[in-house]
């Protein structure tokens, strides 16, 4: 009877992941995974919004200029609306996306993952004035860089979060290969790692696939060249018959 195969050490997959995911536990007892957006995409989204606002105001002033005092009154009302309400109106009425955020694939949500409401959106956008201090968003940038989920001061006070909008992923197909029996009973995260390897193999180069599979050649007790086929076979077995 062959000796039981050596298992990959328990630490291999179980270290806390070094990433920016933000977990929200719901009353149903599941963890929702949010991906907070960092400084650069947020700054780009802001730049886009700034350009749009500038264009709107420029066009409005050109169009309202000939109307004299009435035009000036309307223009200053419009200036007020665009300065203070552009962000709030878009965020609340458009699922947390201003046009800039939409373009960058970002979204504002409450800390618990629900869509941002009037109170929170108003808070975070009024307090933007403080983030701007002392010049050019200095406080906002410092706060954003120092916070684990990249919040600026307005986000801290309002309890909001800027996250990446989720996109539907295409369904990958597993390679056509015969299922092979499992050499040991893998833990849940080990199963996921094996399946992830099989699902992503189409996007990896042959050399990289071999290198990755080679890590497990020892524990699987196969020569390094066969490790890849063996792993894919095991993944097939884990998926079950189609």
């Amino acid at each position: 009877m062959p000796a039981p195969l050596a298992k990959p050490s328990a630490d291999t997959f179980r270290q806390p992941l070094l990433d920016t995911r933000h977990l929200v536990e719901t009353p149903e007892g599941i963890d929702l995974v949010l991906h907070p957006a960092g400084l650069v995409p947020r700054a780009l989204a802001f730049a886009v919004d700034l350009t749009i606002r500038g264009t709107i105001l420029l066009l409005a002033f050109l169009a309202l200029g000939p109307f004299g005092e009435l035009g000036m009154g309307l223009a200053s009302l419009l200036f007020f609306l665009v300065t203070w309400w552009y962000m709030v109106l878009f965020e609340v009425l458009n699922q947390g996306c201003t046009p800039g955020k939409q373009l960058l694939g970002l979204q504002v949500v409450h800390d618990d993952g629900t869509p941002v409401g009037w109170a929170a959106s108003l808070t975070r956008n009024l307090l933007r004035v403080v983030d701007l201090l002392p010049f050019g968003y200095t406080l906002g940038i410092l706060s954003c860089l120092a916070h684990p989920t990249f919040k600026r001061l307005g986000d801290l006070a309002a309890g909001t979060l800027v996250i990446y909008r989720e996109r539907p992923q295409p369904r990958p197909s597993l390679p056509e290969i015969d299922a092979q029996p499992l050499p040991f009973a893998p833990q849940a995260d080990e199963r996921r790692a094996l399946l992830a390897f099989a699902e992503r193999q189409a996007g990896l180069s042959a050399g990289r696939r071999r290198e990755l599979a080679g890590i497990l050649a020892g524990p699987l007790r196969v020569p390094e060249e066969q490790a890849e086929a063996r792993l894919l076979g095991i993944a097939r077995e884990l998926m079950g018959p189609p």
Partner: protein
């Protein structure tokens, strides 16, 4: 259970759930939305199973996205805006101001203290006005309230179409000041203190100076009407900012971030009330205060009535007639 058979068994259900989510997100819940909570909980169960059994990331991610979208629809903070606004203005806002009497009192003392103190000082020692305002600004103020002008206010002589311009200008200017006063509270309250102080001092200086040079007949009837709303609004914006600052300075038994979040939740409602007051102030200032044909006596009467109205609103409105059930 193997992943493939799990997927085969529930695939139709997930697609159905995604279809319902699409409808809900477009704001058109179908007839079967009554069953949405049950469907959402089943999906959560499937997600928990998929994670526990170590199914592939692709499936788990797909279920997680569905769960996230379901969570958003299920726990969305509903806001029927119209009804809530009305309730807030009729009762919620004055109640909130009474509950937050500490920051409101502090902001009022600071603001009105500076205003009255500076006004009195400038009235007694006229040259003091130049310690705060430069001569150009003072001359501008004098021109605005010159008793010979037919219409008053920040734009002097103008046609009736210019009421629009003034309205726009007042909205932009006053809302800007109020928002800054509020937001400054995030700097440990210092910003709010600063803006309350500066606004109190400069308004006091102008009032003292214009009274001193004998423009009382134009200045006071002009400002008394909208002052009731404008000064109250600035005070309340300052109070909202001070509340933020206080939460940062003395968070009590909470973490600072949590204390700030809770304070901001209430402060922003104060600011919503400030918006309402400022809107009234801009209307009164543009369309009533600037008119010269009502005599000074009528202006004073209406002004005092407006002050009493504001006071009564904050003291009396929103008190329940019956004991709460």
């Amino acid at each position: 259970m193997k992943q493939n058979s799990f997927e085969h068994r529930h695939q139709a259900e997930w697609q159905d759930f995604a279809r319902r989510l699409d409808a809900l997100e477009r704001g058109r819940p179908g007839a079967d939305s009554r069953h949405f909570p049950a469907a959402y909980r089943r999906l959560c169960r499937h997600l928990a199973l998929a994670e526990e059994r170590g199914y592939s990331s692709r499936l788990v991610d797909q279920l997680q996205q569905l769960a996230l979208r379901g969570h958003r629809q299920f726990y969305r903070h509903r806001n029927p805006l119209g009804a809530r606004c009305l309730g807030f203005l009729l009762g919620g806002f004055p109640r909130l101001v009474r509950e937050e009497w500490r920051p409101v009192l502090a902001a009022s003392l600071l603001f009105y203290g500076c205003l009255l103190g500076m006004g009195l000082l400038v009235y007694l020692f006229p040259e003091l006005v130049y310690s705060l305002l430069d001569p150009g600004q003072v001359a501008q103020m004098e021109a605005m309230y010159d008793p010979d002008a037919s219409r008053l206010g920040r734009f002097g002589e103008r046609s009736s179409a210019a009421d629009w311009m003034m309205f726009g200008y007042y909205v932009m200017n006053n809302f800007g000041i109020a928002f800054q006063t509020f937001a400054g509270g995030l700097l440990f309250g210092l910003g709010s203190l600063f803006f309350l102080l500066i606004n109190g001092l400069s308004i006091g200086a102008v009032a003292g100076h214009l009274s001193d040079i004998g423009y009382t007949g134009t200045f006071w009837p002009f400002v008394i009407g909208h002052g009731a709303f404008e000064l109250t609004a600035i005070t309340l914006a300052g109070a909202a900012g001070l509340k933020l600052g206080w939460a940062l300075c003395a968070p009590g038994r909470l973490r600072r971030s949590e204390a700030l979040r809770q304070a901001a939740e209430r402060s922003v409602r104060l600011v919503a009330g400030v918006l309402f007051l400022l809107l009234i102030a801009a209307f009164v200032e543009a369309y009533w205060s600037s008119m010269t044909f009502p005599g000074a006596a009528l202006k004073y009467t209406v002004g005092i009535l407006l002050w009493l109205l504001v006071a009564a609103y904050f003291l009396l409105a929103g008190r329940p007639r019956h004991a709460p059930e």
